[in-house]
């Protein structure tokens, strides 16, 4: 019974009233901006937490006025660390690339008036905001925020407050928050996938989609298939904590002198398997949109097609697929079957192949190009550099023999910060600078943008490169300070260097905030296509009208990266111009 031919109501009018327009809006652009500002708040909180951590690592005995008793206790350090990781991974890196930019630009880039399910979209955002509020509340409940890291391994996280401060109500709020976040992500991924499949403009074949759309699509599929697993694990953990079950708690634990008699036969490694089955795709969810944005921007600013478009689309899919098969590399020394470690290792090393292919293709896109160094391009170049550095340290960690000496040291911290905290964030920055004119109708200040780039580029390498050496030397992660063993004292100069670099780099981000908000208020007016780009978002006003194209929906005639086509009238040929329009432009004054 086909229902697609039944007449339906006409599209709703643009909503009126402050609340329906800006707060409870179903418009994907508003929702995208809501996600963006949520991520901005979250990243600010996350950076402040990390600065407190870095300060404590170098001056553990310093008197801090806002802490009762003056000295930061180790459990407070661990709470900062847990919340820093959780907030950054979930509320920044899973929210901004997909929720903010994906929501805003996916429909426009495929020529649609909105997402497939606008009300579901709105619900996803509000659930995410609720999750964030729950997460922040963990700081203020009795016992404070949890101390088990963003990985929350039981039994540390599974027995309540007897294992440590913050493991009572704080851990519960954490679990509730991430549980809500799982729902929000699942709903959002349904939207992204359905929209991409069903709402493309005529002529927008799969192989004509911008790589940003490919990246968001694969990311949404990964999200769909992984967050359900996390939700299952969280439910079991919550039952262990509050209903006396033993999914993860074995028999015979003696915690703080008390025998945990009611438990039996649970297996902590079960949590690790379930969590990392989600957790590994999660980190690819964080970086894939940045890869799409990087391809998109490098092509635009090199005035050349993406080198190997099909390979770029294929490697996104390969990374998405392989990303589900290698979670065990987080568990090489966990007591897991050592034979399965070899399988996980081989798969982990093989995901390096599509990642390397992407890097070569980015270089290939620039090669022979006509490169302009506007701020978006600078950050995309920075993305490539940091992705290479961070990715290569992964080659060490992918080998279990080397993981024997590097697991849980600062070497790992260096690796994941370089790819997530720097490369993925650079992806967000370059997307911001690139699409700010389109979203807000104003240009950002280029000089401040370049200053922001250089300070952050140098600063980020200064913060995270020394961590490799801290780890090689035996500096263990999640340590509140360095008094545990004598040899750790030798690491202090490195930590001092990193702390200073961290404060300086964080200060440099103020330039970005200043630029962002001042440009919002009074930046120069932006034209429709300031970067002379070919994709559909540049074929409409800045900012776009409510239905994205003012009723004049585009048809697509060519691929997304037709730059410097020989014989074309200009060095870019937009997707939406018919061949006769292009020919007409050749005869005309060059304005398209």
């Amino acid at each position: 019974m086909s229902s697609s031919l039944h007449p339906v109501h006409a599209a709703p009018r643009a909503p009126s009233g402050f609340w329906r327009r800006y707060i409870f809006s179903t418009n994907h652009k508003v929702i995208g901006l809501q996600y963006y500002f949520l991520a901005l708040v979250a990243v600010t909180v996350g950076i402040v937490l990390s600065l407190l951590m870095r300060f404590h690592l170098v001056w553990p005995r310093a008197h801090l006025p806002f802490i009762s008793g003056g000295l930061m206790r180790p459990e407070q350090y661990l709470a900062l660390m847990t919340m820093h990781g959780t907030i950054m991974v979930f509320f920044v890196l899973t929210t901004a690339p997909l929720g903010a930019f994906g929501n805003y630009f996916l429909p426009i880039q495929i020529g649609a008036p909105d997402m497939a399910f606008p009300r579901l979209n709105m619900m996803s955002f509000w659930l995410t905001l609720l999750a964030f509020a729950c997460m922040l509340s963990a700081f203020f409940v009795q016992g404070g925020a949890p101390i088990s890291g963003w990985t929350a391994y039981p039994p540390l996280s599974g027995l309540g407050s007897i294992t440590g401060p913050g493991e009572g109500m704080g851990q519960t709020m954490w679990i509730v928050s991430i549980g809500i976040f799982c729902f929000a992500s699942l709903l959002a991924s349904i939207n992204f996938i359905s929209t991409t499949i069903e709402m493309r403009a005529p002529g927008m074949h799969l192989m004509r989609m911008p790589l940003t759309v490919w990246a968001w699509f694969v990311t949404a599929v990964m999200s769909l298939l992984s967050f359900g697993v996390l939700l299952a694990a969280l439910i079991m953990l919550m039952l262990d904590r509050s209903a006396g079950t033993s999914f993860f708690i074995p028999y015979g634990l003696v915690v703080n002198g008390e025998l945990q008699a009611g438990r039996s036969g649970g297996w902590p490694l079960l949590w690790e398997h379930l969590f990392w089955f989600f957790g590994h795709p999660e980190v690819y969810i964080a970086i894939l949109p940045g890869m799409g944005v990087t391809s998109h921007i490098i092509s635009n600013f090199s005035r050349k097609p993406v080198f190997g478009y099909r390979a770029m689309a294929g490697t996104l899919c390969a990374i998405g697929f392989l990303g589900f098969l290698l979670w065990g590399h987080h568990m090489f020394v966990s007591g897991m079957n050592p034979y399965s470690s070899l399988a996980f290792s081989a798969l982990t090393l093989s995901i390096g192949v599509p990642s390397a292919v992407k890097t070569f293709n980015w270089l290939g896109t620039m090669w022979g190009g006509k490169i302009h160094f506007d701020t978006p391009m600078l950050f995309s170049i920075g993305f490539v550099s940091f992705f290479v550095t961070g990715g290569l340290s992964g080659i060490f960690l992918a080998q279990p023999a080397l993981d024997n000496m590097l697991h849980a040291t600062y070497y790992v911290v260096a690796h994941f910060h370089l790819v997530m905290a720097v490369a993925a964030i650079f992806g967000i920055f370059s997307a911001t600078y690139y699409w700010f004119p389109k979203m807000f109708g104003r240009m950002m200040n280029e000089t401040l943008g370049k200053l922001h780039f250089w300070l952050t580029f140098v600063g980020a390498y200064c913060i995270f490169m020394p961590m490799h050496f801290v780890g090689l030397y035996g500096g263990i992660r999640r340590y509140a300070d360095w008094t545990g063993a004598d040899y750790l004292a030798a690491l202090r100069p490195l930590h001092m260097f990193m702390t200073i670099a961290a404060f300086a780099t964080a200060a440099a981000q103020l330039i970005f905030f200043y630029n962002f908000f001042k440009s919002l208020a009074s930046g120069a007016k932006a034209p429709e296509d300031p970067w002379r780009g070919t994709t559909l978002e540049w074929a409409t006003a800045s900012p776009p009208p409510v239905d994205n194209f003012a009723g004049d929906y585009p048809h697509v005639f060519r691929g997304p990266y037709e730059y410097s086509v020989p014989g074309a009238p200009d060095d870019y040929t937009p997707q939406h111009l018919s061949p006769s329009e292009v020919a007409g432009a050749a005869e005309g004054d060059g304005n398209v």
Partner: protein, 222 residues
């Protein structure tokens, strides 16, 4: 930051909606199909439901694989929850009820196709009623387990039994609510036919998931 900047940023202030019954050039899957004047093509709802069911399937797969792993766990303390005797009888009955509800749903759709609105509604409501019976039956099974001294935390297999049946029950309850909404609440963007189609997809999927879970629980540890 001024309101107008946000307004402009959201694209709300300017521009027409541009869509007035046929004014939108057709869009859909890139092949130029004209799909009418709605914002969201009806087919997208079906796609969305398929996607949603995939996500839900992963959730149940996680629970099942956790149970399988736990059964084979090195601690060796899995005492299988024997699904036999009265427990098996209740569960078999529940399964039949749920299968019956799928049958009534098929009948409802056939009545709708024949244009028989009263018939459709009758069989559709019957489906929800059978769904409620299933849930009641599950609660009865739980009650019997409690009488037998098997609670949520008693042993690993009882924990998984409650967890798995509860997870399915929650999803089914959501399905019952959806059925009632479809029956009584007029559709706006979604055509009624589409709503019926996706609600049935969900319902049959919950049925199929139950069959799978049921046989898994039956095999509990043997």
């Amino acid at each position: 930051m001024s309101d107008s900047a946000i307004a402009e940023g959201a694209g709300i202030g300017a521009g027409a909606t541009g869509s007035n019954g046929g004014g939108i050039a057709g869009y859909g899957n890139g092949r130029g199909d004209e799909l009418g004047a709605s914002q969201t093509p009806q087919r997208a709802y079906v796609t969305g439901m398929v996607i949603a069911l995939s996500g839900i399937a992963m959730f149940f797969m996680a629970l099942i694989s956790a149970a399988v792993v736990r059964r084979g766990s090195p601690s060796g303390d899995w005492r299988p929850l024997a699904v036999s005797g009265w427990l098996a009888r209740i569960l078999w009955l529940n399964t039949l009820v749920l299968l019956g509800s799928s049958a009534t749903m098929l009948q409802a759709r056939s009545r709708a196709r024949a244009g028989d609105e009263i018939g459709f509604r009758r069989w559709w409501i019957a489906t929800s009623v059978l769904g409620l019976c299933f849930l009641a039956g599950q609660l009865l099974a739980w009650r019997q387990l409690v009488f037998a001294g098997l609670y949520l935390a008693t042993n690993p297999s009882s924990s998984f039994f409650y967890l798995i049946t509860a997870a399915h029950g929650v999803h089914l309850a959501g399905g019952i609510i959806a059925l009632l909404v479809v029956a009584f609440h007029p559709a706006r963007r979604m055509a009624r036919g589409t709503a019926v189609e996706i609600a049935s997809m969900y319902w049959h999927a919950m049925d199929a998931i139950w069959i799978f879970l049921f046989f898994f629980l039956l095999s509990g540890g043997r």
